[in-house]
């Protein structure tokens, strides 16, 4: 249990130290994030991949309100914790070439956000989950609104109010569950055991689903996302797309499905429908984008739509696919945004038509970018493939048409991603890109690391699947058992 407490509080300590570290905050945050990664790997090595919750911490916190500091790790949590603590050092390293004003605040906020995220991903107490949920939002709001680009204040206000609107209704749902719970606490196991009728489950489904759908984002709750991604600083975009949107997906899996399965079953067609509309809609819009960053933002909506459809299919393949895809999407999207950041920092634009021929002057960047793009379009042998394959199989079990339309993402995705690659990297070198210098130092390290992860996980995904398999199976059993008892 000490390991988990250390895991959650290490970034927090790091944040405090970084806040007072002035110019050396970069180093401090790197040290702490790498230490977190080391600790995570240690935990992962000692983790037994069965359905049980391990490294459990259960301390009384606000006893007379029934709130406990109850956290633990099962296979599903392990995966997202791994993702978080893998990506945070990568994101921090990716900022090495930047000279942000107020570096102390910048890195402290990133580490503070990491603590919030870890709380979300390990909490077994609904109140704790909610605290983490909001604690992750405040830092990213400040990161995006302080270091962001044009029109950042208005855009981030929209983002903030949007997300917090969702989470306040979720809080209402949590309070309702708490009051229904005869033990009057926020224990997840007690929430699982609640016997709610179908009508109750229906509205609680919506109270939670809207919060998660805004975070992911699922169509039509996505309108904050493209603007926010575009206006955010590169590291902010990576945090948002790489890790933060997984909060929504994780929330669905951990809280929505097992607590209100009947609600999920009643509304799953709507949820899958919205997800699939989102896939097609986002892909079509991605086609028309002139800005590469916006294009990736829309492609992200498409990918997340597929993940959400796979989860609401409520079967083993879909769920396992969602697990793998969460990790892969996190790695790939961070890679994409990093490449775009490298391009932007050199030529000060991400407009596709203004770029071209970068491959000639920067061959190493071109290769790394190609691998990341191929991972994103789910080429067999890359990490994107196995996840999307499983997800489509999951959706297929619901309906062949759903799977057919959802499968379009892969084709659409391949078309617009490769076209973007072609226009940016290939073709004639113009006067803007002629002076482009190839990647070096920390950029090289980060991109090669990402490429290695893409290929290794693509060729040998078994440890990942094995990690989550038992937990996913257990979760689905729970859901099905509860569904039969409601009827």
């Amino acid at each position: 249990m000490e390991q988990l407490l250390l895991l959650i509080f290490l970034p927090l300590v790091g944040a405090v130290i970084a806040a007072f570290a002035g110019k050396s905050a970069k180093i401090v945050s790197t040290v702490f994030s790498v230490a977190s990664l080391g600790l995570t790997l240690f935990i992962a090595c000692n983790f037994i991949p069965d359905a049980s919750t391990q490294f459990e911490v259960n301390l009384p916190w606000i006893a007379n309100l029934g709130i406990n500091f109850h956290a633990g790790i099962d296979g599903i949590s392990m995966l997202v914790v791994l993702l978080t603590n893998l990506l945070i050092p990568i994101i921090i390293l990716s900022s090495y070439k930047h000279d942000y004003k107020n570096p102390a605040a910048f890195y402290a906020l990133i580490l503070f956000m990491q603590a919030g995220l870890l709380l979300v991903f390990t909490a077994l107490d609904a109140f704790l989950f909610y605290i983490g949920w909001e604690a992750a939002l405040i830092p990213i709001y400040f990161i995006c609104a302080f270091w962001g680009g044009k029109d950042r204040v208005r855009i981030n206000m929209k983002f903030f109010v949007y997300t917090i609107a969702g989470s306040l209704f979720m809080l209402m749902g949590i309070i309702y569950l708490y009051l229904q719970n005869p033990a009057h606490n926020f224990e997840i196991s007690a929430f699982y055991a609640l016997n709610l009728d179908v009508a109750q489950q229906g509205w609680i489904f919506w109270a939670f689903f809207i919060a998660f759908a805004i975070k992911m984002p699922v169509f039509p709750f996505h309108t904050w996302q493209p603007d926010t991604y575009t206006a955010a600083p590169a590291q902010g975009t990576m945090l948002l797309s790489g890790i933060m949107l997984k909060m929504g997906i994780y929330g669905v899996i951990r809280w929505l499905l097992p607590i209100v399965p009947a609600g999920v079953q009643d509304w799953s067609c709507v949820a899958i429908g919205l997800s699939i509309i989102g896939i097609v809609y986002a892909s079509l819009i991605a086609f028309t984008q002139k800005d590469a960053k916006r294009l990736v933002a829309y492609s992200s909506i498409g990918h997340v739509g597929l993940i959400s459809a796979g989860i609401f299919a409520l079967n083993q393949q879909g769920m396992q696919g969602a697990m793998v895809q969460m990790l892969s999407h996190g790695i790939n999207v961070v890679g994409l945004f990093f490449v775009l950041d490298i391009i932007f920092s050199r030529v000060k634009t991400n407009k596709i038509e203004e770029l071209g021929g970068i491959a000639k002057v920067a061959p190493q960047l071109a290769i790394a970018f190609l691998i990341i793009v191929l991972g994103t379009v789910a080429l067999p042998g890359t990490n994107g493939f196995i996840g999307e394959f499983l997800l489509l199989m999951g959706v297929y079990n619901v309906g062949i048409w759903a799977a057919a339309i959802a499968g379009l993402t892969i084709i659409f995705g391949a078309v617009y991603m490769l076209r973007m690659y072609q226009n940016v990297m290939l073709g004639k070198t113009n006067e803007l890109t002629i002076t482009f210098s190839d990647i070096q130092g920390s950029e090289k390290f980060v991109l090669y690391l990402i490429c290695a992860l893409i290929i290794v996980l693509g060729v040998y995904p078994k440890p990942l699947l094995h990690l989550t398999e038992a937990s996913v199976q257990h979760l689905l059993e729970q859901v099905n058992q509860k569904l039969t008892s409601v009827k």
Binding site: L65, E134, V153, M157, I175, L179
Partner: protein, 457 residues
Amino acid sequence: MNIIITISITAFIVLYAGLFKANKALLPLTVVGLLTALGFTFCAWGDNTVHFGMMQTDNFALAFSGVCIVGTLLIFLLTQNYFHAKSDNIAEYYTLILFALAGMVMMVSYKNMAMLFVGLEIMSVSLYILAGIRKKDFASNEASLKYFLMGAFSTGFLLFGITLIYGATGSFDLDKIQAYLVNNTTAISPIFYPGVILMMIGLCFKIGAAPFHFWTPDVYEGAPSLITTFMSTVVKTAGFAAFLRLFEGALAPLHEFWVMPLTVIVCLTLFIGNVTALFQKNFKRMLAYSSVSHAGYLLFSLIVLTKNSGSNVLVYASAYTFASIIAFAVLILVKQKTGNDSFESFNGLGKKNPLVALSLTIAMLSLAGIPLTAGFIGKYLMFLNVMTEYKTLLVAFAILNALVGFYYYFRVIVAMWFKDGAETTLATPVQYKVVLLVSVVITLILGVYPAIILNLI
């Protein structure tokens, strides 16, 4: 009883010290007096003594007295150079604030409605003078006159209500009134009901709940900032405690009757307070309207009466008090520097004064109700309270209002951190630093570990 005596004696000593022009001694004397009073509050903890049938110092009374005394103490620390710049006779300020505090202690611990009236008047009369104490300032005079007229009017309502209830029950004593209600469930005198409504109106005037809030913005804006701080934090807390004592205790058996008008008042208060605050260009006026909306959240505790109503109000009121003290303290500093209190004068504050700006940010997050600050716990408790009877629509309405709140609270955060401004360095006296630090620490501690005051009452 000791508390009131200590505060009153301090007030007189301070007045005499002023007479002998011992201006330097005023603040230390006051602080010692208030700390002694605070000490008596701790000593009396758990005693639950009834004083001459008029006052009862139960834990409820002591907890609220404690919050009021600490709040006043912090506000006194902010007086550094504030009054000196405005007037020669600064002892009067100190004395009047102390008298008002004595009135408030009576208001939070009354057992007899006569004491409620006496306490309320001691407090109000002091405040009428304090609001108008800048006698050559037009706005200050306007504030004072408005406050006086409205206050006198509302006291009329309150007294009329007390009379009617006395007519029905033959007593001013809270326990006897409650006994009357419990024993005569079927034959409650018809004049009792208008009595309840009139008292509710009178008290709603005092706490500034809509539609009886019209005096608040003008009075808050016109009065000297420090007096506004006092009125919108400590006075409001005391007003709520008085409200709660009456309706949660004596009038609780009649809950079904008065909950309907109260719900209407709550909805109006939330809506009017929030929406009007959204359109303010002046930070001080925005705080005035936001204080109206907070009155709405606080009244949630009366819509559903549980055994926790008292402690919920205590948490919310302290969260609100300490956050507001920070907000007003920074406002005073900024106004001293820039000469006005619009949102623009906060532009770029974060660059040169990061710690002051950070304190104000935490205060705003707390007022907006973001987790890990006291304001969130307060809002959470209020929502929880109302949800126990599954009034989901009311909570949904409150959530929509809370969302509106984010806009105007974040406006000052945005101004401080994300906008470019004059980049002036504020002159922050040591006392201000102490007040900011103490208030921030209390706000965060209550936000992270509220258990320390949750089981007080």
